[in-house]
Each structure stands twice: as structure tokens, then as C-alpha cells.
């Protein structure tokens, strides 16, 4: 697929400026870039789980969305958009609608990995022709940085605070992209803001236009929750990929494909040390935790290579 950075970035915005998301928010970058995957002339209905994105983009009586948009509740973006897609099918069948619509749900990791997991799983298994996009910022940011099942190990959050008896979140994060791939959906992929956004753009377009259920997991850093300077977002994302913390891969029609292999894999501490939520790991007595972390990253990378036949 050919990719022209300038042309892609100059497409008309489908999320208008003037919304209330934080400066430097990864979620907004994810949304704007996913919507660039829509072909001009095609319409969309956007579904949205409750979260930062919803409360900041559709505050009555204003909406930032150029397309039709529905927010229902926290845990049901998958089911809600299933209903919209079913309505589209029947309206088409009855000859009530000529136009082409695509269906895109956005949810944070709270609405996707956790409370909305059942609804997402149902929508994926039923293979509705829609794409569910998770903007994964690794915690419940809307309510103030509480841990989720997407929160990385040892992160300092408001419900896994670092203390004399705590080194942050004790558990590993859930691998949701793999879990959705195991639903045998036509398309599942994970990406982030990397290089010139080519990976994100191509995957968005593919996910939107692939017939059947598609899932896109986009690591979308949150400067407030991760505690890094806003302007460092591209560096953070790059380090996530170059350390193998967040590998870029896709699973299309059952085939696992690795999209990027770092030439010189960087140690995980390069990713961790940029972020305030991991600050405690760099105290002398916690050095072994970084070793444990590295082992986990390596284990998952090996597993991914095996799946991708690399």
C-alpha cells in the first residue's frame, strides 16, 4: 500500500479542533489518524465508550465529531455499534439507504480491556462489519490514573501507589491484541505513533475496509498518567517499539505478521526511565525489578516471533 505522509496529514479533519482533550493527548492523535483511514466520500458512524474522549468531545450542546456519533455507556461500545451495523444492514436490505457507511468504535483500555471486554468479545465473535479501536493509555485516566489490566507491571497509579510495601502494580499486563486475534476475526493489529505514522495509517485503512470484525490496539501515551513532558510523545512511542515493549504486528485472516523488527533492540529501562510512573524502579534497591521486567518483555517477544514464524 502506498503512503504519502503529506497527503494523508492534509486530509480534512473528521475530529474538529475545539474539543477539551489535554494538550499532547495520545488518544486524540490516535482518533485523528484512524479517521484518516476513511476514504473521502464514505460516511461513518463512530461509537464511543465512556471515557476522556467521550466527555471531552461531546459536551452538550457541542460535538467535535464531523461524522454521526453515538456514546452509550462505559462497557458497551461493541454491542452498541453492533446494533448500528445491524440497522445499516436492514436499511440497505429494505432499500432505504444508498450511501456507504463504515463503523468505528473508540474505547480506552478501561472500556476495552476491562469493563467492556465482554461486549467487545461478543461483537468480535459475531463478526459484525466494524472496527473497534482501543486507544490504550494503560490506566483509567478519566477518573484519575487508576490501574487497569492494560497497566504495565510496576507502574505507579492511584490504586497501585508505590509505598513501603508496594513497588507499583504487581501484575503483568493483559495482551488484548492476541486475545482478540484468538477470536479468529478477519483482522487484528497493534500499532502506535511511529516514524511517519505509516504503520498506523495502513492498519487503520485495512481495519476499516476489511469485511467483518476488526480490532486495532493503539498505544496512546497519556502525559498526565505516564508523567513525561508533553513534547516527548513521539520519543516515548519510539522507545516502546525499539525496546519491544509494544511490538508492531498484525493478524490478518489468521496469519501473524511482524511489521517491525528493531535492528538493535534497546533495553527496557530506556523506555521506563523516561516516565515518572516508573521512577521508583531506578532506586538502587529496585534494580532487580528492571531485570524481571526485561525478562517478561523478552519472553513475550519470543512468543510473538514464534507466532509470526520469524
Amino acid at each position: 500500500m502506498s503512503y504519502n505522509f503529506k497527503e494523508t496529514m492534509n486530509k480534512p479533519e473528521r475530529l474538529a479542533p475545539g474539543h477539551r482533550m489535554c494538550a499532547g493527548c495520545g488518544g486524540t492523535i490516535a482518533v485523528r489518524n484512524v479517521l484518516r483511514g476513511l476514504h473521502e466520500g464514505d460516511r461513518a458512524v463512530i461509537g464511543n465508550a465512556t471515557g476522556c474522549l467521550e466527555v471531552s468531545t461531546f459536551m452538550y450542546p457541542y460535538t467535535a465529531w464531523e461524522d454521526s456519533y453515538i456514546h452509550n455507556a462505559f462497557e458497551n461500545a461493541g454491542a452498541t455499534l453492533s446494533g448500528v451495523e445491524a440497522a445499516y444492514n436492514v436499511m440497505k436490505k429494505k432499500g432505504k439507504l444508498d450511501e456507504t457507511y463504515k463503523f468505528i468504535a473508540f474505547g480506552g483500555d478501561g472500556g476495552t480491556y476491562d469493563i467492556g471486554f465482554q461486549s467487545l468479545s461478543g461483537a468480535m465473535e459475531r463478526n459484525h462489519d466494524l472496527v473497534y479501536v482501543c486507544y490504550d493509555n494503560g490506566a483509567y485516566m478519566n477518573t484519575g490514573i487508576q490501574r487497569s489490566s492494560a497497566t504495565p507491571m510496576y507502574a505507579d497509579t492511584t490504586t497501585t501507589p508505590v509505598g513501603t510495601e508496594s513497588v507499583g502494580k504487581p501484575q503483568n499486563r493483559k495482551d488484548l491484541t492476541a486475545i482478540i486475534a484468538e477470536h479468529y476475526v478477519p483482522y487484528a493489529a497493534q500499532t502506535t505513533f511511529f516514524q511517519n505514522f505509516k504503520d498506523l495509517h495502513i492498519k487503520s485503512e485495512k481495519a476499516i475496509y476489511k469485511k467483518g470484525a476488526a480490532f486495532l490496539n493503539i498505544m496512546s501515551p497519556c502525559p498526565r498518567g505516564w508523567r513525561y513532558p508533553t513534547e516527548d510523545i513521539m520519543e516515548i512511542c519510539k522507545l516502546a517499539v525499539e525496546t519491544n515493549y509494544w511490538p508492531l504486528f498484525e493478524v490478518e485472516d489468521g496469519k501473524w505478521i511482524l511489521n517491525y523488527k528493531p535492528k538493535n533492540r534497546l533495553p527496557i529501562e530506556d523506555f521506563l526511565k523516561k516516565q515518572g510512573r516508573f521512577k521508583h524502579l531506578f532506586q538502587k534497591e529496585n534494580e532487580h525489578l528492571i531485570e524481571t521486567y526485561q525478562k517478561e518483555v523478552d519472553r513475550r517477544w519470543e512468543e510473538l516471533l514464534r507466532r509470526c514464524d520469524e
Binding site: Y69, N72, A79, V84, A87
Partner: protein, 392 residues
């Protein structure tokens, strides 16, 4: 041309739905409502309807998908009972505040615990404040007729509220009765095509549904809902009058049975009305002035009209099939007493709780109730409220 049939309430509901041919029907099974999506799936499998049936993974998702479909511009519904409705609780409020006229086929069943599959009204009564129109039925004919009328009321431009079409679990849902069906064509003409004014899949006008609204707007949205609910009263009356013309069956917001000269009356909802009518007929033969007021619409609550209908009654027995644990009676009792008080009606009232978790209520029970209402008129003081048929 009417067709005579022998059907269960669930069959009658399913046939009405086939005749209506709704657009989207997501559902998840739960006793005793399961048969409705089952029967309907056969209509889908045999090409008798155009409906998209979505076999979702939970009731929360069935209501969520129905809501999404309705917002998209389709005519949608789902079906459930009891805990299924409890799981979709959050969505009931969202559907009403989004002003989406979707339908819920509710087969009333007791809420857990202990887990119990039989009839009472604890599921729908708990949802009485969710902003849905609530329509109840005594028998299978009324179930069928309510389904035919429901969308017309909900979708009316002065209303635009979701509607819960309720029937008593097992008693009507599984009990088979003789009844009359309308022709498919008659139903389709009566219900008509759904033509929403604003919807997601309108290429001429994108729209956004389900906003975040701060204190500056929230209260106005609730006021809008209550105005719509008030409007639903007249709309329902008009629809019922129109329905009478094609069916020969006239309904109201409630039914008055031998109430015109009654000195002692009971008020209740649902299938127990049949038993009550039988008891009243026997007592009337003995010359006793007894009657029944059977509520059909609990939302909107026809308080003024009920107070008027009971204006000449000396003692009223208020019968609830759902506890509210206030120690002060159930929801029907509370709302009816408030309506009587507001109207300045000084009739004495006695509260009864009956039929919880499917406990039978018999003709004799109603005789005892009417006896007690007379005793109260003669000075007997009743302590609080009583449970009918309680094991001692």
C-alpha cells in the same frame, strides 16, 4: 378479518412481532421470556421477516445493541425477564433519556434472591422510574393487542419514549388461551413504517447521540422526558381508540370492572385480574357492591383518572405484586394513595402483598379481601399491610 387461535402469551407476542416486522432484534435467553426470541428466530430462518436478529452475549448487550439500532434509525426491540432486566438497568435510563422509542418485551419474573423463575412484578416495578412507558396485560389477548399498539404510542412525535410491554411470567407467557389475531396486513397498516426525524444513518444530517451534559442542561432533559410521559397518556388513548376500530376491542389506561356503583374495590395489575373478576361476579350475585380497577399503564401513571374512578368507593384494597421494602406497602399502593390524597379522596385504603415468586392467589383470597374491606368500613383497624397466602 380476525382469525381465532389458541396461543400462549409468548406465541401471541411473537406473532404480533412477526406481523410488525421490526428491523433489529438483539436478544439473550432467560426464562420465561426465552420463547419470544426462539419463535422469532424461526421467522427469521424462514424468511418471514426482514429483521436482523442479533444473538448477543448478555442482556446488557441486547439492550445496548437495540439502543444503537434505534438511534441508527431502525425499529428495534429486545425481550427479557427478571435478572436479565436487572443487568440492562443502566441502559433503560440511557434509552429513555436518548428519547429512543424502542420496545422491551418483558415477561415479568421475580428478581433473585432466592432465585425464582415465577411471576411477580419486582423486575418492572423496580424500573418504574427509568423513564419507560409501562404497559401490562391480564390475558393473552391483551398481550397480543398491547404489542400491536406499543410502537404507535412510543414513536409518536409528542412522546418518543421507550415502551415496556409486560406480561405475567408463565401465567400468560406459557398459559394457552383462545384469542383472536388480526390479519398481517391489518397490523402492518396499523403500525406503519418507522420514520424517525433524526437518526445516525441519515446521509443528509450527521447527528450525535448520548452527550455529556453538565448541570446547566441535565435538569431540562429530565423535564423534557416527563412532559413526553405526560403526553403519552392522550396519545395512548387515541391509539387505543383507533385500535378498537380495527379489532373491536376497546382498551383504556386502566380497566374498570363492575366499578360504577362499587363501595369496595381493589386495584391491581396483570393476570390476577381474571381471578378477581371471577370473585367479584360471585359476590355481585350475593348483592355485594364490589369492583375492580385493573391498571394497564403504570407509566404514565393515570393518577387523576384513577382517583376519579374510585371517588365513590368507601374502602380500596391496593394489591402489589412487588415489594419495595419500605414497610409501607408496594409501589402500586404508594402511587395510588398519593393520587387519592391529591384528589382529596378520603376513602380508606388497605394494602395487600400477593403472588411474590409465583405464589398462587385464589378466588377465595379475593373474597377474604372484600370481607376485610367491609370490616374496615365498619371500624376494623388493620395493622400495616398483609401478605396474602403466606405460610404460617
Amino acid at each position: 378479518m380476525a382469525k381465532r387461535e389458541r396461543l400462549s402469551g409468548n406465541e401471541a407476542a411473537s406473532i404480533a412481532l412477526r406481523q410488525i416486522n421490526p428491523d433489529v432484534f438483539p436478544a439473550f435467553p432467560i426464562t420465561p421470556s426465552t420463547e419470544i426470541p426462539e419463535y422469532f428466530s424461526k421467522f427469521v430462518a424462514n424468511g418471514q421477516v426482514d429483521t436482523e436478529f442479533i444473538p448477543v452475549e448478555s442482556e446488557h448487550s441486547s439492550m445496548s445493541a437495540a439502543l444503537g439500532a434505534e438511534a441508527a434509525g431502525a425499529r428495534a426491540l429486545t425481550a427479557t425477564s427478571s435478572c436479565g432486566m436487572a443487568l440492562m438497568w443502566e441502559e433503560l435510563y440511557v434509552a429513555a433519556s436518548d428519547r429512543l422509542p424502542l420496545m422491551l418485551a418483558l415477561v415479568n419474573r421475580a428478581l433473585s434472591g432466592p432465585i425464582n423463575i415465577n411471576c411477580d412484578h419486582s423486575d418492572s416495578m423496580g424500573a418504574r422510574d427509568s423513564g419507560w412507558i409501562q404497559l401490562y396485560a391480564e390475558d393473552n389477548q391483551e398481550v397480543y393487542d398491547n404489542f400491536v399498539m406499543a410502537y404507535r404510542i412510543a414513536e409518536h412525535k409528542d412522546v418518543r419514549l421507550p415502551i415496556m410491554v409486560c406480561q405475567d411470567g408463565f401465567i400468560t407467557s406459557h398459559g394457552v388461551q383462545n384469542m383472536e389475531l388480526l390479519e398481517d396486513e391489518e397490523v402492518r397498516n396499523f403500525v406503519g413504517e418507522y420514520q424517525p426525524e433524526h437518526y445516525l444513518l441519515n446521509p443528509k444530517e450527521p447527528m450525535a447521540v448520548g452527550p455529556y451534559a453538565v448541570s446547566n442542561y441535565y435538569m431540562e432533559s429530565k423535564y423534557g422526558q416527563v412532559q413526553a410521559m405526560k403526553n403519552a397518556k392522550q396519545v395512548a388513548i387515541d391509539v387505543m381508540n383507533e385500535f378498537a376500530k380495527i379489532s373491536g376491542r376497546q382498551y383504556g389506561l386502566f380497566e374498570e370492572y363492575r366499578l360504577e356503583d362499587a363501595e369496595y374495590a381493589i386495584v391491581l395489575i396483570g393476570s390476577a385480574a381474571g381471578t378477581a373478576k371471577d370473585a367479584i361476579d360471585r359476590l355481585r350475585e350475593e348483592g355485594r357492591k364490589v369492583g375492580l380497577l385493573k391498571i394497564r399503564f403504570f407509566r404514565p401513571f393515570p393518577g387523576e383518572e384513577i382517583a376519579k374512578a374510585l371517588s365513590k368507593v368507601k374502602v380500596v384494597g391496593l394489591m402489589d405484586r412487588a415489594e419495595s421494602f419500605s414497610g409501607n406497602g408496594g409501589p402500586l399502593c404508594a402511587e395510588t394513595m398519593a393520587a387519592l390524597h391529591r384528589a382529596g379522596n378520603t376513602a380508606k385504603t388497605v394494602e395487600y402483598m400477593y403472588g411474590l415468586g409465583g405464589r398462587d392467589i385464589k378466588v377465595e383470597d379475593f373474597w377474604h379481601i372484600f370481607d376485610e374491606l367491609e370490616e374496615v368500613a365498619n371500624g376494623k383497624v388493620v395493622d400495616g399491610y398483609s401478605y396474602i397466602g403466606l405460610r404460617k
